[in-house]
Amino acid sequence: METVLSIQKISKQYGKIQAVKELSIEVAKGQIFGILGPNGSGKTTTLSIILDLIRANKGRYRWFGEEPSSESRKRIGSVIENPNFFPYLNPVENLKIVADIKDLDYGDIDRVLHLTGLYERRKSKFKTFSFGMKQRLAIASAMLGNPEVLILDEPTNGLDPQGIAHIRNLILLVASQGTTIILASHLLDEVQKICSHVAVLNKGVKLFDGKVSEVLAISDSFELGADNREALIQAISNYPGFKSLDSSKEILQVLFKEDVVNPGKINSYLFSHGITLYHLSERKRSLEQHFLELLQNNQ
């Protein structure tokens, strides 16, 4: 796989606060790479460093295998924090400035305005826009000229549910055309819905990274109760996909590895082993709960 971005042990300190600590990340071409972490975990700092807005204290990074320069940034479309445009210019005038900087012609401006649903408002000044529209203009600006890489920092921040769905579909559409996407978010659900790969950050430290399906695999827990407790423990431990159990209470807490278990299957399996349950309940853990656990386990 061709490496698009390689971050090697970057650290950034603001006074006493360590914003990013020895962070290394590799993003390959075509990935939708999520950077997941709570507020203040160093996501924006990391993105600001790789876009030359902030100087790292230590470490280095490479874009497209080269020493980073303004030329490499022209191949990247970015949305960083809040949308930053001239308030007294309309979207077309603002995007023309972007096109000039990136050496693009103006032909693509109408397309990105259509894609982000701003075409009708192309003559209104930026300052008259709602936050959601500003955010969409930022995304339009990032998509201008079909860059090889799209960097999106909290792209659905401040959008209404409809806008969120719209932008997520847009990201998936762009990704399906082979664009590499780097997406920072504090929303587990967003990363899970959009990304193929993820790095989880907390307090500037990378906890782990890998494929979303592996890192963020959700296991469900079940509460099981039967008169014959020992037989139940024995039988459920042999169930395919079994992970762990907590037998400290009368009712057993059982964790499974995969998302494939369902109460019916468990019930019929146990019944075929001669165990009759008097209590069976499924406990879906919320994604947020899962995320908090991930963070806690790595503290």
Binding site: D52, L53, I54, E71, K74, I80, N82, F86, E93, D100
Partner: protein, 276 residues
């Protein structure tokens, strides 16, 4: 260079504040120049009340003095502050709108960003110098009876003087804008320095009690103002044989240019090191 100027032009084309301030500046400029003769003659009238032999009224707009006088009146402290404030606004806006961040993220190097502002400053200086020259030419032609070529071209060094004054002063403003990054703060401190702090420092340093040698001439703004330091007032020359300034000298231009260059270097080094 063309690319950077194109970007700058897009940023100011629909910017009302810029055009309004530019308009006010031109009104002040025109008023200042047109009032100059009136003010001087008013002074002459006042002096005449106490003089046995009245002084004649002056005409300061004939060739070649028109070059010097327009360059002088167009660069008095209070008029000069306008282009400086415009530059400060254009630069600090980029920080308050965070468009400098967006420009850099989009692929403009920090150096290019600085260059784009410097090119704009040079362009504004060239345009203003052109206006000043054309204005002076028209005024001169309508005030001079017998025009000869040597008469016309004498003292045209004041055109260069005007250009250096307006250019270096805008670079001072560029320095304030980039170092302070905040519009209100930069305008307030610049105005405070230009209109109050430096004049006080000037009299303080000039006083022989404080320093043996007069080092007031080294004050940065004073150095700029001294490029076209005095108007040409023919009465003084005629009556007392006194000429205050004949030409714009290379030596006079050197100090403000050195200051401006130092400021550009400091801005470049700071921007490279500091986070955006």
């Amino acid at each position: 260079m063309i690319k950077l100027l194109k970007i700058e032009f897009k940023k100011i084309r629909s910017y009302k504040t810029f055009w309004i301030l530019t308009g006010i500046y031109f009104v002040f400029l025109a008023l200042g120049i047109l009032m100059a003769e009136f003010i001087i003659n008013n002074m002459v009238d006042n002096m005449n009340k106490h003089l046995p032999i009245p002084l004649p009224h002056v005409n300061i707009f004939f060739f070649p003095d028109v070059w010097q006088n327009i360059a002088f009146f167009a660069t008095i402290r209070y008029v000069l502050i306008f282009p400086a404030i415009i530059i400060i606004i254009l630069i600090t806006n980029e920080f308050s709108f965070k468009t400098i961040r967006q420009n850099v993220v989009n692929g403009l190097s920090k150096t290019d960003f600085l260059l784009s502002k410097l090119y704009l400053i040079v362009l504004i200086s060239v345009v203003l110098t052109l206006f000043m020259s054309i204005g002076a030419l028209i005024i001169g032609l309508s005030h001079t009876d017998a025009i000869t070529l040597p008469l016309l071209f004498d003292k045209t060094s004041f055109i260069i003087g005007f250009f250096i004054t307006i250019l270096t002063l805008q670079i001072y403003a560029f320095f304030f804008g980039f170092m302070l990054r905040n519009t209100g703060l930069a305008i307030a401190l610049f105005t405070l320095y230009a209109l109050i702090v430096e004049p006080i420092l000037y009299y303080f340093l000039k006083s022989p009690v404080v320093f043996k040698n007069d080092i007031s001439t080294y004050l940065p703004l004073n150095a700029v103002l001294r490029v076209t330091e005095y108007p040409a007032i023919p009465v003084l020359k005629k009556l007392m044989g006194l000429t205050l300034q004949e030409d714009v000298t290379l030596g006079g231009c050197l100090l403000p240019v050195v200051y401006a260059s130092l400021m550009v270097i400091i801005v470049i080094l700071t921007l490279k090191k500091k986070d955006l």
